[in-house]
């Protein structure tokens, strides 16, 4: 494995590469089609470059462990607003997640509904393109429209357009207080209704999730203590109807609960996991559609119904397979995957995206892991890759 220690060495390694490269941070997020290539780790590019708490900005090398970033920020009572998940819980693996990996996957947690995604907090990047050139975009200020926004293009491009060497964020202060208002005994209809009602209120909900397995809807509030208490009371009244409503104000209990939602702990034991992004209204309808009746699976619903994690165990996938003449669990999962992506592509349902997040290599190699794009966008994507990586050496094939 190549492990450059500086940006210049990274650029040199890419420029000198004779064949495909498999770009790694901590290697904890093996999402996408398997890549054949020499491993190139960015973990050697580590450390905070600049941290200005008074300006709410952080510049950090891409290989810096996420834990270190979070520790440094916590020291000043600040944090990354977008609450990136730790994929190790879901995918296993023992690597050290890096901040560059977070950006490469645009990894965003429950607070996405209020504070935006990783890409919304990202204000600057440095990266090495497929030619080995070091390119800068954005900067370290919050408002910047100077030139094209390649910052956002790099977020979520999974190392296929360039290898991140440095990233800059705007930050948020850690609020004084947190509370979660929980509705118990909620089925799908009641859960979506509750989440929608909460999000339409002015009470600034910073997390809205439904755990169907437990029948619980969790609504998080953050801010100054008096304000949180006030809003919790209002939200509680807003949820009046079937099902008990409780309020949890303990810091530890809240941290544990939202970490579990963020990391999709409920599906950690499932062999196959998909991530579905749709409008909440469409998700509500989609979950009742054909798939729901013919397949057995488990789910965790986040983003007020806009994000659904679907998990299938080996047994559930094996059960799905024979209906379509498929032989085994992997074949069942392939069939399910295709059905799911077809449903997303159905304009009647309002559009959405299904991504296979967890599954054996055999499965990931057999299907388009990411939702296939419409023809004009797919052509633009090929065009971008040809421009930024003309030799086709950066994580080739990973995004399909």
């Amino acid at each position: 494995m190549m492990r450059p220690g500086t940006e210049a060495e990274l650029a040199e390694a890419v420029a000198a590469a004779a064949g495909p490269l498999r770009i790694l941070g901590g290697g904890t997020r093996p999402v996408g089609r398997p890549v054949e290539g020499e491993a190139l780790s960015v973990a050697g590019l580590s450390g905070v470059v600049l941290y200005e708490p008074g300006a709410l900005t952080l510049v950090v090398r891409a290989g810096t462990p996420l834990e270190e970033v979070e520790r440094v920020l916590a020291g000043e009572g600040q944090r990354l607003a977008f609450e990136p998940m730790d994929h190790r819980v879901l995918l296993g693996g023992s690597g050290v997640p890096t901040i560059g990996g977070v950006v490469a996957g645009n990894v965003s947690g429950p607070r996405r509904v209020q504070a935006g995604a990783c890409r919304d907090s990202l204000i600057g990047v440095r990266f090495v393109d497929g030619r080995g050139a070091v390119i800068r975009n954005g900067g370290r200020v919050m408002k910047n429209v100077t030139g094209y926004d390649l910052v956002k293009l790099m977020a979520g491009s999974r190392g296929t357009l360039g290898v991140l060497s440095e990233v800059a964020f705007k930050l948020l202060p850690v609020p004084e207080s947190v509370a979660t208002v929980t509705l118990h005994g909620a089925d799908g209809a009641r859960a979506f209704e509750a989440m929608t009602r909460a999000m339409k209120s002015p009470f600034e909900v910073s997390g809205a999730a439904w755990l169907p397995g437990k029948g619980e809807v969790h609504l998080r509030l953050e801010g100054f203590a008096g304000s949180v208490a006030y809003r919790a009371g209002r939200l509680r009244a807003l949820l009046a109807g079937p099902g008990e409503v409780t309020v949890e104000t303990g810091a530890e209990a809240n941290a544990r609960l939202w970490r579990a939602i963020r990391d999709v702990e409920a599906l950690a034991g499932h062999a196959f996991v998909w991530r579905v992004s749709m409008a909440p209204g469409a998700m509500r309808a989609g979950l009742r559609a054909d798939l729901d009746r013919t397949a057995r699976f488990d789910r965790v619903v986040d983003w007020a119904g806009g994000l659904c994690w679907i998990g299938m165990t080996e047994a559930q996938a094996a059960d799905y397979a024979p209906r379509f003449g498929a032989a085994d669990a992997v074949a069942g999962a392939i069939r399910f995957h295709r059905d799911l992506q077809a449903e997303m592509a159905d304009p009647e349902l309002g559009g959405g995206h299904a991504t296979l997040v967890k599954g054996p290599e055999a499965l990931r190699a057999a299907v388009p892991v990411f939702q296939p794009e419409l023809a004009p966008l797919a052509a633009l994507a090929r065009g971008l890759r040809a421009q930024f990586d003309p030799r086709g050496i950066l994580n080739p094939g990973l995004m399909g």
């Binding site: 995604a117 900067g139 200020v141 006030y230 209204g281």
Partner: protein, 477 residues
């Protein structure tokens, strides 16, 4: 301001191109009489003018696609135009270009409160988006000061901000989907009412691309429930440094105001003379606004005042009513008009790290003396987005050039301290030739490669964003 030499071959076939456009749009939607095309000769950067060859006002995405297909076939440059309020010359025509105005595309297509989105045609004005949902308690957050007139299409092209983006973000953070027509007439649907698609962040790169990658005809925007209330506090300080330190302390304390606005003494004096808002006569003034229920507002303003007192304010005035809130905002909102009373001015838009505020303000003061031109500062302090207003007299020969040189010096200073040339207005033609100050050639090359993908012939919104010499090879090709 250098502009590329117009393509004589294109101008020579004006009649032919106009006839083709009229065939798909109807005569009424194609403007080609030189007396009428003058209406499109400039945007809000009125110092530079050039009538286009023609202007078209399509009424649907299909018509936009037809116009672009024709212009693509004929090799005619196209300049997209929203409401023409760009302060950067983003909609400045060239003599061989067709202006594609989206003003007729102004319908609300769908309001969906359950998903908290609105889908509109892109010619709709910013304020009328909020207008369509405010009766139901919702609003569209980005609020550029031209919001009464500016179009969503232009907001997307320039990634517009506003006074409240400290809390709610700018256009790119509130945009969920677009219908985009590329230069060859292909209609591309991107995003929708859902968040974070799996592929590349197309919305991210299109937003802020200054109309050079495609023409946005429809947009899905996030709408938010209106907060229960909002109230500002006004504070005056003896020096800009102290005001800057107070801003940093407020931010560090964990309060997230919706707006922190800053005005310096020249700006305070001008607005007092103009609007009589009752501002204190001091070196620096801050307006800090917070949102929530009455009790939440009290709690936040209490904390903010406590922080402000540590910095010995000469004035600390909390609004106690709607009327008092309006009075506090009155001066700030009339600042640009007030400066206009003093003469011609040029409004800059650089962003700096908040920590560099005192240094930059001091240097601007020194440069003001060096260039012999007055300057007033009014800006969004929470995010470091400055708006120095340089005063000059357009009728005095050499004054505009001196003003531009002063402006360039300020923007270079912004970059030097770790900031950027433009925080919310865009590059346009105005800052095009300064791009080399902020970016190395290789950085600009990477951006131009994105344009190569969307518009290989470089026909869309020519001569903007990139220095002419940097794009020369591509434009010729």
């Amino acid at each position: 301001m250098d502009m590329p030499v117009p393509n004589a071959a294109v101008i020579a076939k004006k009649e032919h191109v106009v006839a083709r456009l009229a065939e798909v749009l109807g005569e009424g939607a194609v403007i080609h009489d030189p007396a009428e095309t003058r209406a499109y000769e400039c945007d809000a950067l009125a110092a530079y003018r050039c009538p286009p060859m023609a202007a078209v006002l399509p009424g649907s995405t299909a018509e936009v696609a037809a116009v672009l297909r024709i212009c693509h076939e004929e090799g005619v440059p196209v300049v997209p135009r929203g409401s023409g309020t760009s302060l950067a010359g983003g909609a400045m025509p060239t003599a061989d270009s067709v202006i594609l105005g989206v003003a007729r595309l102004n319908r609300v297509l769908e309001v969906d409160y359950d998903n908290r989105v609105i889908r509109v045609e892109a010619g709709r004005t910013n304020l009328s988006v909020t207008g369509a949902v405010e009766a139901d308690g919702f609003f569209y957050a980005p609020d550029p000061s031209s919001q009464l007139a500016c179009a969503i299409a232009g907001n997307i092209a320039m990634n517009s901000g506003g006074a409240h983006c400290l809390k709610y973000g700018v256009t790119t953070n509130n945009l969920l989907g677009v219908t985009l027509v590329t230069m060859d007439g292909t209609v591309v649907e991107i995003g929708g009412a859902y968040m974070d698609a799996g592929g590349y962040d197309w919305l991210g790169v299109i937003c802020g691309s200054e109309g050079q990658l495609g023409v946005v005809t429809e947009a899905t925007l996030r709408i938010l429930p209106r907060p229960e209330g909002a109230r500002p506090v006004l504070m005056g300080f003896d020096s800009s440094e102290v005001a800057g330190a107070c801003v940093a302390d407020i931010i560090k304390a964990g309060v997230l105001p919706v707006a922190i606005e800053f005005m310096d003494r020249p700006c305070i004096r001008a607005t007092e003379a103009f609007a009589g808002a009752g501002y204190p006569d001091c070196e620096a003034l801050l307006i800090v606004e917070v949102e929530g229920s009455p009790a939440e507002i009290d709690e936040q303003l209490g904390l903010i005042k406590q922080i402000a007192r540590r910095h010995d304010p000469v004035e600390l005035r909390e609004s106690g009513s709607e009327a008092e809130s309006a009075a506090i905002w009155k001066g700030r909102k009339s600042a640009f008009g007030a400066m206009g009373q003093l003469g011609d001015y040029m409004c800059l838009d650089g962003t700096i790290p908040v920590s560099a505020l005192p240094h930059v303000l001091r240097r601007i003061g020194e440069m003001s003396a060096e260039f012999g031109l007055g300057v007033a500062n009014v800006f969004h302090a929470g995010d470091g987005n400055m708006h120095p207003l340089i005063l000059f007299d357009a009728n005095t020969p050499g004054d505009l050039e001196r003003c531009e040189a002063f402006g360039a010096a300020i923007l270079k200073l912004c970059v030097e301290v770790g900031g950027c040339l433009t925080g919310e207005h865009g590059v346009g033609i105005e800052k095009r030739d300064l791009m080399g100050v902020q970016f190395d050639p290789v950085d600009l090359e990477a951006q131009m490669r994105v344009k190569d993908v969307f518009d290989p012939g470089w026909l869309l919104n020519p001569a903007k964003v990139f220095p002419l010499e940097a794009s020369a090879g591509r434009r010729a090709g």
